[in-house]
């Protein structure tokens, strides 16, 4: 199974992400409702992909990316940013911090699936 960590403070948004990705049968989903919870889960169990919101109540997505990239064991982990912040500055900051890909909300199932397929293909092959 491919373990996916879906990080967003909105439960509906996490559910929507999972609903879109459910088309890929080998994916298994874990939810995290905050950036801190995401970091905690990543420290305790291995994941193959993180779908990450930027704007969250405790620490933001960029900080999560920065922290993850500073860890040796997480350096290669694919991180897909899915955010309402569609501006170029946010994209640049996220990619500079080490995010693997960046897409904006609202997203379509096709859009997020193709990003995820590309990331998983690049990382290990589906």
């Amino acid at each position: 199974m491919i373990e996916v960590l879906v990080v967003d403070d909105s439960k509906v948004m996490r559910d929507m992400v999972v609903a879109c990705l459910r088309a890929r049968e080998r994916l298994q989903f874990t939810h995290a409702a905050s950036g801190l919870e995401a970091i905690e889960r990543l420290s305790l169990a291995p994941f193959d992909l993180v779908v990450l919101d930027l704007n969250m109540p405790d620490i933001g997505g960029i900080e999560v990316v920065e922290f993850v990239r500073a860890q040796d064991k997480l350096r290669e982990l694919p991180i897909l940013i899915v955010t309402t912040r569609g501006d170029e500055a946010s994209r640049e900051r996220a990619l500079a911090a080490g995010a693997s890909a960046f897409m904006t909300k609202p997203f379509t199932p096709e859009g997020i699936l193709s990003e995820v397929d590309a990331l998983l293909g690049a990382a290990a092959g589906p």
Partner: protein, 666 residues
């Protein structure tokens, strides 16, 4: 989203989250309304996040007008955040208007109605403010925290630094607490999320910094969180709540010397499990309904036991058990009802913003004071009471408080005062007074307008004011006069089992007092049969149940046509109209009406003849209609445990409307 995922599937989730965010937005805007000139970094941060999340969700749901509004508000708020949390005075109005516009569109989505585009005027006002240059200078607050470790300071944003600075100015100390996650802790339900919840109970978490550390037995994930807390709590209180050890907790910035904190794993457990769950009230209703079914089942068992006992079987031990079971059911009910309670203070949070809007539309100077202490009330009562309260507040500003020049003439201060106050409630009733220091009500003018005699007292004055359709102004003003009328306000309160009272002081002001039960969900009621139908009536309104002795009924001779005279019942040294409930409800004439329920309303007594009594039940009442679609005499429906809905009759109201009809005929 397109074909393969249906957004409708997420509508309920969206509505519930949108509601939560709108509540948070209103509450944070109220913070600025209360102290406009101050900086509120935390409120701004929360505003920003709520708007941002709302925007994202609305985008997924394809509701562009909400996206537009949230985006414009968010841009303005972001600007404010850069200014250190100080909101430009002109910014509050458009933010409030934007919140209202979003709320309307969320409602429309919930009702399946068409969604109006975002009002251009609001968008323009927001954009104009967001574009204004400001003094973005986070370095100012950075300097103020010179005694903090620079390694930590550089990881903090302007908002967090502001928050720290304010905390230190207030006399809080800043402590750092370290939490290292492990699989064992996670399995026991101890995570960074529960740790934050525990610490949040005694202090304000300003920032949580994740730190990579060499993997060890104490930090097997190679991770620890440094949690920055601003707190006034004593070392012991903080240690008990957070459970940090001597090596885990350090003071970072404070006036007094840093304390050493001791480990207490049990305390940590206790504190960290203090989580919060949000529950849909509908689910609590289901639980209460199931409990009510249990109660009815219990009642049947008790009746069976009684019948069995009459045959001579010794059931003492079973009866003891049944009594114990009764007590448990009552405790369970109290617990469930407690879960539905919300603080009145939270319910009234939108009031300052509403009064602010009224100030703008009426041009009157008004100061609002809300002092409701710790009173709590049932969520359902709160939802039904709130529109009535808002109406009374609007009325007070619109009709009560005079324009400034008139106030000066009367020797009153320029600012009108409006006070919403809750007197310490009894265990069952809520008591809210809405007082203004305006001109009061002129009884003679009201009487003239209504074409009635001048009322003798405030009770009669209130009766006239709450006559359906009565309005004290020729034309509806912009703020009052639309929406609920005072008659509906009164009915809403009475339908809840409460009462509206008036204390009118002409020239000096008016007080409306609302008394309402803290909960409506469970009703102690009599079940009875009228005609061939089952009904319920609250025990609280029934003065007595009497046998109808034909010898005590005076039946005036019937007339050949038109309205029939009313039978009178002589009972308990009193004479009162005896009305056949069967006839009133238009039911077939089945069975003798051998009993009567005595009911009193505003000093008048009525006897309602019924076919037979079925007993006393605790039932869960569901409102049948909202206050605007009024079914006279019926206040809701309940389930007696067999799945058949039984109507709950509002007998006092039924009696009053019959009396009015008779007066009209006479």
């Amino acid at each position: 989203m397109t074909q393969s995922v249906d957004v409708r599937e997420f509508l309920q989730g969206f509505l519930s989250e949108a509601d939560e965010h709108l509540g948070r937005i209103t509450s944070n805007l109220s913070t600025f309304e209360a102290a406009p000139s101050q900086s509120h970094p935390r409120a701004i941060g929360e505003l920003f996040r709520s708007l941002h999340t709302l925007k994202g969700l609305a985008g997924m749901m394809g509701v562009d007008p909400i996206v537009d509004l949230a985006h414009a508000m968010e841009s303005l708020v972001r600007r404010t955040e850069r200014r250190g949390g100080r909101l430009a005075p002109a910014a509050l109005d458009p933010l409030v208007a934007g919140t209202k516009a979003i709320t309307q569109r969320v409602r429309a989505l919930a009702d399946g109605a068409a969604i109006q585009p975002a009002p251009e005027s609001i968008l323009l006002a927001l954009e104009r403010l967001a574009d204004q240059p400001g003094d973005d200078d986070p370095s100012a607050s950075r300097a103020a925290l010179s005694n903090l470790d620079p390694a930590i300071v550089e990881k903090l944003g302007a908002r967090e630094l502001d928050e720290l600075r304010q905390a230190l100015e207030r006399g809080d100390r800043v402590l750092q607490v370290v939490f290292a996650p492990s699989p064992e802790k996670a399995a026991a339900g101890r995570t960074i999320t529960t740790a934050r919840a525990g610490i949040g109970g005694v202090g304000r978490i300003v920032k949580v910094l994740p730190r990579a550390v060499p993997a060890s037995t104490s930090a097997p994930g190679g991770l620890e969180f440094a949690i920055l807390v601003a707190t006034t709590a004593t070392e012991h209180a903080l240690a008990a709540a957070a459970g940090v050890g001597p090596d885990d907790g350090t003071a970072l910035a404070s006036a007094p010397a840093a304390p050493e904190l001791g480990v207490d794993d049990d305390a940590f457990d206790r504190a960290s499990r203090k989580g919060i769950v949000r529950i849909d009230v509908a689910k609590l209703d289901v639980a209460l309904e199931q409990l009510s079914g249990l109660g009815i089942g219990q009642l049947r068992v008790r009746e069976e036991a009684r019948a069995l006992a009459e045959t001579g079987v010794d059931l003492r031990r079973i009866v003891t058990q049944l009594e114990e079971q009764d007590r448990r059911l009552r405790r369970m009910r109290a617990t469930l009802l407690g879960l539905r309670m919300v603080p009145l203070r939270e319910v009234l949070e939108p009031l300052p913003l509403i009064v602010r809007g009224l100030r703008n539309t009426t041009g009157k100077a008004v100061e609002l004071e809300v002092d409701v202490g710790d009173a709590e009330l049932d969520k359902t009562v709160a939802e039904r009471l709130f529109p009535a309260l808002v109406h009374l507040v609007r009325n007070a500003v619109d009709h009560g408080i005079e324009p400034t020049d008139e106030r000066r003439r009367r020797g009153k201060p320029d600012h009108g005062r409006l006070r919403v106050e809750s007197v310490a409630p009894s265990t069952a009733m809520l008591d809210i007074a809405i007082t203004d220091d305006g001109g009061g009500i002129d009884p003679a003018a009201i009487a003239k307008r209504a074409g009635r005699a001048v009322p003798a007292d405030d009770r009669e004055l209130l009766d006239i004011l709450t006559t359906a359709g009565f309005s004290s102004r020729d034309q509806a003003t912009t703020t009052s006069g639309r929406g609920l009328g005072l008659d509906i306000v009164r009915h809403t309160i009475e339908a809840l089992g409460g009462a509206l009272e008036l204390d009118n002081r002409p020239g000096l002001g008016t007080t409306f007092r609302i008394r309402a039960p803290l909960t409506v969900a469970v009703l102690d009621a009599f079940a009875f049969v009228a005609g061939d139908e089952r009904y319920l009536a609250p025990i609280s309104v029934v003065d007595a149940i009497v046998e109808v002795d034909p010898a005590e009924v005076v039946r005036p001779p019937r007339k050949s046509g038109g309205a029939q005279p009313v039978d009178m019942l002589h009972t308990r040294g009193d004479v009162m109209p005896l009305v056949s409930l069967r006839d009133v409800l238009g039911l077939p004439r089945m069975g003798e009406e051998t009993r009567a329920l005595l009911v009193r309303r505003q000093g008048r007594r009525f006897a309602f003849a019924i076919t037979r009594m079925l007993g006393r039940h605790e039932v869960l009442v569901r409102p049948l209609v909202d206050a605007l679609v009024d079914v006279p005499g019926i206040s809701g429906s309940a389930d007696l445990g067999d799945g058949r809905p039984t109507l709950v009759l509002d007998l006092p109201r039924l009696g009053a409307s019959l009396a009015r009809a008779r007066e009209a005929l006479a």
